[in-house]
């Protein structure tokens, strides 16, 4: 006989009620504690997904059930996230130094995509990169080369790299090198171009865009390489990011404070270096003129943090969330080697004068790695100025951070939110929670024009599609069965 004393404890029974209203009126009248759920079908509303998901829930009494294994794996993944110490250690003069075998490979943002399926801005950026590499002499020739299969494409994420917007990385581009000194893994990101609206990352390929890339390669990169060489042990990025959160940045779409802090460190180092004065001036002018300059380092830091948590068997934590302008893809720690994709939405927010939603390209870029690591929209409470993009109030900024806590497995005590009593920013998106709560991760983002080369047309917020998470939950449930 298996008696269940817990069912008949002699005290007020506390009830959770979900579904049709009215069935809990007796509970209400009896004065028993009652919590009503605002229930919606999980995920995409399919009962199969609901049942799959229920198989993945942990159980304190059953350490061997799949859910408990997932919980333990997530705890381990979270430990690695919190332990990570991303440090800017170097600048690689060219991407080909890091991947000597890359040949005519272009890395791009988001999940894998073929040339024919790419959105306008990404196609433009590909043409620009081909011209920059001198693999073709004209845009027409470049397109011909690509269409003929002369270029290999791969996601930045699969190379340990992250690229903003179109995210194109070609062999000659210099890269920031960030090392997670706790685990030894490295992450890479290209430098921000300072061409205003006209930049390769937004799909522009005019001659001045290519010149801008050359300036980075020949002036900025060597100078910053010297700067970081002069900082003993490299520049620890976690304290810098932490401080920026306290200065109003989300370190995704607002990097004003972080860029200033970087400027301070770089200036001090360069003043001690033998780099010629005009180069130093040009470099500092570039950094000083671009509030978003730090984003590359922020993204690389987040990539270094999240790669350390990738590959923990059974873990349901999202280790990358990235968009190629057509699809959003996620990578999940316990589901190595796979992307789970869904169609990208158009960001909601403000547009620069003369542009509207009709001009907007669907969500694009690897920068959602910041949200994946618990920054960006997850740390929105630190950056109330950001909510102006969506016409919100400072209260809304707090709401984003609170809501995202519902889908995160933990909080990062290294990234605290002053407005929420210095609680850590939510971190570690759990695919189970996204599906269970029916709450999609929010991403702060810039909006690109859908035509190549038209540049940035606005900024706002966007949510990753539910399909990524539903498919990943199904895959995790299958792993369990096999």
């Amino acid at each position: 006989m298996n008696a269940a004393p817990s069912a008949l404890r002699d005290r007020k029974t506390s009830i959770i009620s979900l579904g049709a209203s009215g069935l809990d009126r007796g509970v209400e009248s009896s004065g028993a504690p009652l919590t009503r759920l605002h229930w919606q079908p999980v995920g995409d509303g399919s009962p199969e997904v609901a049942w799959n998901l229920a198989q993945l829930i942990g159980d304190a009494d059953d350490a061997d059930c799949l859910g408990s294994r997932i919980d333990r794996a997530n705890a381990q993944a979270l430990e690695r996230i919190l332990a990570a110490q991303p440090t800017w250690v170097d600048v690689a003069a060219h991407a080909s130094e890091i991947w000597p075998d890359m040949g005519r490979t272009l890395l791009h943002a988001g999940p894998p995509i073929d040339w024919k399926d790419m959105c306008g801005p990404m196609k433009g950026a590909v043409v620009g990169a081909v011209l920059y590499e001198k693999w073709a002499a004209s845009p027409a020739e470049a397109e011909q080369l690509v269409a003929g299969g002369g270029i290999r494409f791969a996601p930045c994420h699969e190379f340990g790299a992250v690229g903003p917007m179109t995210g194109i990385i070609s062999p000659s581009m210099p890269l920031f090198v960030v090392m997670n000194s706790a685990a030894g893994n490295r992450a890479y990101a290209p430098m921000m171009e300072s061409g205003g609206a006209r930049t390769l990352r937004f799909g522009a390929f005019a001659p001045e865009v290519i010149e801008g890339l050359k300036l980075i390669e020949n002036v900025l990169a060597p100078c910053l390489k010297a700067a970081i060489a002069g900082i003993d042990g490299g520049l620890p990025l976690k304290p810098l990011i932490s401080q920026s959160l306290h200065m109003g940045d989300d370190v995704h779409n607002r990097n004003t404070a972080a860029t200033l802090l970087l400027y301070r460190a770089v200036t001090e180092s360069l003043l001690k270096s033998p780099v010629p004065r005009d180069i130093v001036q040009e470099t500092l002018r570039t950094i000083g003129a671009d509030d978003m300059f730090f984003l590359s380092l922020s993204m690389a830091a987040c990539k270094a943090i999240m790669d350390a948590a990738h590959g923990v068997p059974f873990s349901s934590i999202v280790t990358a969330m990235a968009r190629n302008g057509v699809n959003v893809g996620i990578r999940v720690s316990g589901l190595e080697g796979q992307w789970y994709v869904g169609p990208a939405d158009v960001p909601v927010g403000l547009f620069l004068p003369g542009f509207s939603e009709a001009d907007a390209n669907p969500d694009i870029g690897d920068s959602a790695i910041t949200e994946t690591a618990g920054l960006g929209a997850f740390a929105m409470a630190a950056a109330p100025a950001m909510v102006q993009f969506v016409g919100g109030t400072p209260q809304d900024a707090l709401r984003y951070s609170r809501e995202m806590a519902h889908i995160a497995i933990g909080r990062n005590p290294g990234f605290t939110l002053p407005m929420l009593d210095f609680i850590g920013a939510p971190v570690g998106i759990d695919i189970r929670k996204v599906v269970d709560e029916g709450r999609r991760p929010v991403i702060n983002t810039a909006t690109a024009h859908k035509e190549p080369g038209m540049g940035i047309i606005g900024a706002g917020v966007v949510q990753a599609p539910m399909k990524c998470f539903v498919d990943a939950v199904a895959a995790l449930a299958t792993i369990a069965v096999s």
Partner: protein
């Protein structure tokens, strides 16, 4: 009538909310008909059958609301659609809101537990295809479960009950409408005092009737554990019933145990009897419609709901309640004197499935064989549930009457229509109605039923007949609807009130037997 279909994507609402919105939209716009259903396969089939399906609705997902507005004028259709959209949007949190939006209600069981701090039981009434998943999540997090939802597969029921058994947690249901746990009424439940009698029931209204009678006899209920209707099948194995029995055996407050159920599968029945006989407390077993077996040792057999309550009360040490045989006899004689010879047939119009079964059992014992939409034997199934034939007992809570409509305990519309229809049938000797009070049920059933009874009787009278209407009220004086007022209102409308479902069935049966006998003599 022109049809205007549309879809509201990505918003789930339960059927009760959708029906409420339909009603309000009809009232405000004057449109002829509004149908709001979630885009599930079965709902689409329903629309197909009703001739309301259209290409727009084909692509609706289970999480989308299908909207069908019917009217001859496009103005009214448009007005209704605007009304519907504003009503649907009505209880959604406003975008960009401030502090209040920050503490939005929790969406998941995990979120609910986080807010409650501590939780013991999940009361789940979401649509069946999602219900087992919610139950499993609740169990994994250490909650007992009451699963009101039906249409849960046997495989899922087995799976969740397996996990519950491992963890020593209760799963009441699926299809469990009633329970009282630690004095907290769940689902459809009456307000009864706490006491020494513990109940386990596979039937919702049966459990309600027994707990009400116990209360009216002056005693109380320690716990009332519902099992749901599938639990006593061979495949589920009576898991919850056996667990409930064990719980009550171990519960100090419980001195007497009573079990109310349809006859379990033979292997389950065997196990229940074996386990019951090992308990050091008296156990009353009522397997309605099962073989009547002699009582042995601490196990006492009862053959009706009334007998179950009486035995439990007397085993608990209270005086054996008196018999109402005389009152029934007086009622039967009086009624029969008023009937014309053509009036021979019984019509039971029940909102409680157990009452419908109990009536058929009692009638059949006396040789009165009834047709039903929920018959004891398949040979007695009504060809058309909408049309009575001979002696008829209808379960109006059964699926064919409840698609897209609230249960008849909440919405008396279908029952009123049926009562008025029976009033036109010259062969009807009497109508039996149950009136179920308690949480979840209609707030004032007599307000609807009394005028309908008056009208039905007047209809018969106009044709030169009397139409006796026998009513019993399943409730207590403490129920929110007020037991006494309900009875007074029904009696004033001319209803014959009896004290229990069993007495109502016996009275009706006696009337039928007597009318048949007088027919034979004549």
């Amino acid at each position: 009538m022109a049809i205007q279909p549309s879809v509201k994507a990505n918003l789930y609402k339960d059927s009760v909310s959708l029906m409420r919105i339909s009603q309000i939209a009809i009232a405000r716009s004057g449109v002829q008909r509004v149908t709001l259903l979630m885009g599930t396969r079965s709902n689409k089939e329903f629309l197909q059958q009703a001739g309301l399906m259209s290409p727009v609705l084909e692509n609706a997902k289970p999480g989308d609301i299908m909207i069908v507005v019917q009217d001859d004028t496009s103005e009214k259709r448009e007005a209704a659609e605007r009304e519907i959209h504003s009503l649907i949007a009505g209880d959604e949190p406003k975008a960009g809101a401030t502090e209040s939006a920050m503490d939005a209600p929790p969406r998941s069981i995990a979120g609910g537990i986080a807010i409650a701090g501590h939780a013991d039981l999940a009361l789940i009434s979401v649509p069946g295809p999602y219900a087992a998943a919610e139950a499993l999540k609740a169990l994994r997090r250490g909650l007992n479960v009451l699963l009101f939802s039906d249409n849960v597969t046997i495989e899922q029921e087995q799976a969740i009950k397996r996990v519950a058994a491992q963890k020593g947690l209760l799963v009441m249901g699926p299809d469990c409408g009633t329970a009282i746990i630690n004095g907290v009424p769940l689902g459809f439940a009456n307000v009864v005092r706490r006491g020494v009698i513990g109940l386990v029931g596979a039937s919702g209204t049966g459990l309600q009737e027994v707990m009400c009678q116990i209360h009216r006899h002056g005693l109380g209920v320690s716990q009332a554990i519902g099992t749901g209707s599938h639990d006593v099948s061979s495949r589920v194995g009576g898991t919850t019933m056996l667990q409930g029995l064990a719980l009550l055996a171990a519960d100090e407050q419980t001195k007497v145990i009573a079990i109310v159920s349809k006859p379990p599968a033979p292997d389950v029945q065997q196990r229940v009897i074996e386990q019951a006989s090992m308990i050091g407390k008296p156990v009353v077993l009522c397997f309605l419609g099962g073989e009547v077996v002699a009582s042995t040792g601490n196990v006492h057999r009862a053959s009706s709901l009334e007998e179950t309550a009486k035995q439990a009360v007397s085993l608990a040490g209270a005086q054996q309640p008196g018999s109402d045989e005389k009152a029934v006899e007086e009622l039967v004689s009086r009624v029969c004197r008023s009937l014309a010879p053509s009036q021979r047939y019984l019509r039971g119009l029940y909102s409680g499935g157990t009452f419908c079964s109990e009536a058929q059992i009692i009638w059949l014992e006396a040789g009165v064989r009834a047709r039903s939409n929920a018959p004891l034997a398949d040979a007695d199934r009504l060809a058309d549930p909408e049309d009575s034939y001979g002696h008829t007992a209808i379960d109006l809570g059964s699926d064919e009457f409840t698609v897209g409509r609230p249960h008849p305990m909440i919405d008396y519309g279908v029952r009123v229509d049926r009562l008025l229809k029976e009033a036109n049938d010259p062969t009807v000797a009497c109508v039996v109605l149950d009136v179920v009070l308690g949480y979840g049920s209609h707030a004032n059933p007599a307000e609807i039923l009394a005028p309908a009874i008056r009208q039905a009787k007047a209809t018969a009278k106009a044709k030169g007949r009397e139409l006796p209407v026998i009513c019993f009220v399943c409730g207590t004086a403490e129920d929110p609807q007020s037991f006494e007022t309900q009875k007074t209102m029904l009696a004033a409308a001319g209803a014959e009130l009896v004290g229990s479902s069993t007495a109502a069935a016996r009275s009706a049966q006696a009337i039928a037997s007597r009318m048949a006998a007088s027919q034979a003599v004549a």
